[in-house]
């Protein structure tokens, strides 16, 4: 009798635990993030730390540097004024949406493409960068474009949570896709021969090619990947403020200066096309 009671109590306990965990509230959407940030004079940005040109950790001074980081700094100043502070929290393609939804970060600026699927769970600003998906291969590779990947036995590397992984599954359904934790791991895996090509957006790939002379970007782009700043649903004032900041940056030349700074010296990359 006693034993049966114990079992019943344990099962009930487990049930209550699962229910309480899965039915959690969404009180975040009721807060006004823009107002909170103005009060704190700080915006918490989720950025990449492993992606050359966009957000890469500099081991010399432990700062993350890249186009996304500079954009975040500029947008912050436009929204909060000259004394506004931008705080950076490192995210991966996998962790950025949960962290945003949880409120650990106020906004994502981390090579994130605006897609319809994502728009169901987060809101995006207007595009702040026009990327397109491409592939990176070793210099001696016989893969010349994404078409060469669509064969059984071909392995393509990508990153968990990246849109490019979903795209390549559609464009090259016969290839096998391996998803690594972040771009540093994916690139190291490509070098180790774990796949024939690495696929993601051209900007990121050119950054890798700059650092690694043995690799090249081939075949041009096969998708359009407009990057947006992502914020939580129900934060229209924040989205508007970001859009306004991007417009101001485009109008006064700040935007083109940043494009020039980060993409002006990248071989094979026509940065003029990116200017606005």
């Amino acid at each position: 009798m006693k034993k049966r009671f114990r079992v019943a109590a344990l099962v009930a306990g487990l049930g209550v635990l699962l229910l309480s965990l899965s039915g959690c509230g969404q009180s975040l959407s009721k807060q006004n993030v823009l107002q909170n940030d103005k009060d704190a004079n700080t915006i918490n940005w989720g950025v990449k730390a492993d992606t050359k040109l966009f957000g890469l950790m500099d081991v010399q001074d432990n700062n993350i540097k890249g186009f996304d980081v500079d954009m975040a700094n500029h947008i912050t100043k436009h929204i909060l004024g000259k004394k506004g502070k931008a705080r950076f929290i490192q995210v991966t393609s996998q962790s950025r949406i949960p962290l945003l939804k949880n409120g650990n970060i106020d906004a994502i600026i981390a090579t994130m493409t605006i897609t319809p699927e994502r728009q169901k769970v987060v809101d995006f600003s207007n595009s702040y960068f026009d990327a397109g998906q491409s592939i990176l291969v070793p210099n001696d590779s016989n893969i010349h474009s994404v078409k060469d990947l669509n064969k059984p036995g071909t392995t393509v590397l990508g990153v968990v949570g990246a849109n490019s992984v979903q795209n390549i599954k559609k464009v090259a359904p016969n290839a096998r896709v391996l998803e690594l934790q972040d771009y540093a791991q994916a690139l190291t895996s490509l070098k180790a021969g774990q796949g024939e090509a690495l696929t993601t957006d051209n900007g990121i790939l050119y950054g890798m090619a700059v650092q690694n002379p043995g690799f090249k970007v081939v075949g041009g782009t096969f998708t359009r990947e407009p990057y947006g700043v992502a914020v939580n649903k129900g934060q229209e004032p924040f989205v508007k403020a970001v859009n306004k900041a991007i417009k101001e940056m485009e109008a006064d030349g700040e935007y083109n200066a940043l494009i020039h700074k980060w993409f002006g010296n990248v071989p094979g990359f026509n940065y003029k096309e990116l200017e606005r």
Binding site: K101, V160, G161, L178, Q181, A192, G193
Partner: protein, 212 residues
């Protein structure tokens, strides 16, 4: 949770399969390797003892993730191609074998040393005595700890997710980042892990009690 299960049961089952396969393979090989090093540790040969000690101490004191990544990222650069599943399983085997060696060694040592002497006096060689007298008794003693090692293996096999090893955790990461339903995705695989690990844990606890 129901959504995740009904839309992704194929990935989840595939993941479960790879997780179990990796754990079983790693258990088998780490048992073989671990026993070998355990026997080396109790022989009279000093070189063998030292080799065993060094192996055990090195791999008990380095994180599993580091060992696994080494096989995934470094070995292919210089030696031969190793895919994520294999790299993960080799990593698990090496890591676990160091722990199993310790378990089996203490099992052997807890068998009364008179047994070995008696067998030798009756004309058995060291290896015969080990094989027919000492090891069978030692293994009986170490079954519960080995069962617990298997539970550890199932849990630790989640390291395959770091090297695209298709296991349950890898699938969970992919499901979580395509459905954006993070909590429920991990909840489902959490329950799947528990379905494997809990019964084994409880059975081992029962065996321990019976042996005690």
């Amino acid at each position: 949770m129901a959504n995740i299960i009904s839309n992704h049961w194929q990935e989840l089952l595939t993941g479960l399969g790879w997780t179990l396969l990796s754990s079983v393979l790693a258990l088998f090989f780490s048992l073989v390797i671990g026993s070998l090093f355990a026997i080396m540790e109790v022989t009279e040969n000093k070189v063998a003892r030292t080799i065993a000690r060094v192996y055990i101490e090195i791999f008990r004191n380095i994180p599993l993730l580091v060992i696994t990544s080494f096989f995934y990222l470094v070995i292919p650069l210089y030696i031969t191609k190793v895919n994520g599943f294999t790299a993960g399983t080799i990593g698990l085997t090496i890591y676990t074998s160091a722990f199993i060696a310790e378990t089996v060694r203490s099992g052997i040592q807890s068998v009364d040393s008179g047994q070995m002497e008696g067998s030798r006096a009756n004309g058995l060689s060291f290896w015969q005595a080990m094989r027919y007298v000492v090891l069978p008794q030692a293994f009986k003693l170490v079954i519960p700890p080995l069962g617990n090692q298997f539970v550890n293996l199932v849990k630790n096999s989640s390291v395959l997710a770091f090297v695209a090893g298709f296991d349950l955790m890898y699938q969970a990461n992919n499901i979580a980042s395509t459905t954006f339903d993070t909590i429920n995705s991990y909840m489902v695989v959490g329950v799947m892990y528990l379905i494997i690990t809990m019964p084994i844990s409880y059975y081992m606890r029962y065996l321990e009690k019976r042996l005690a």
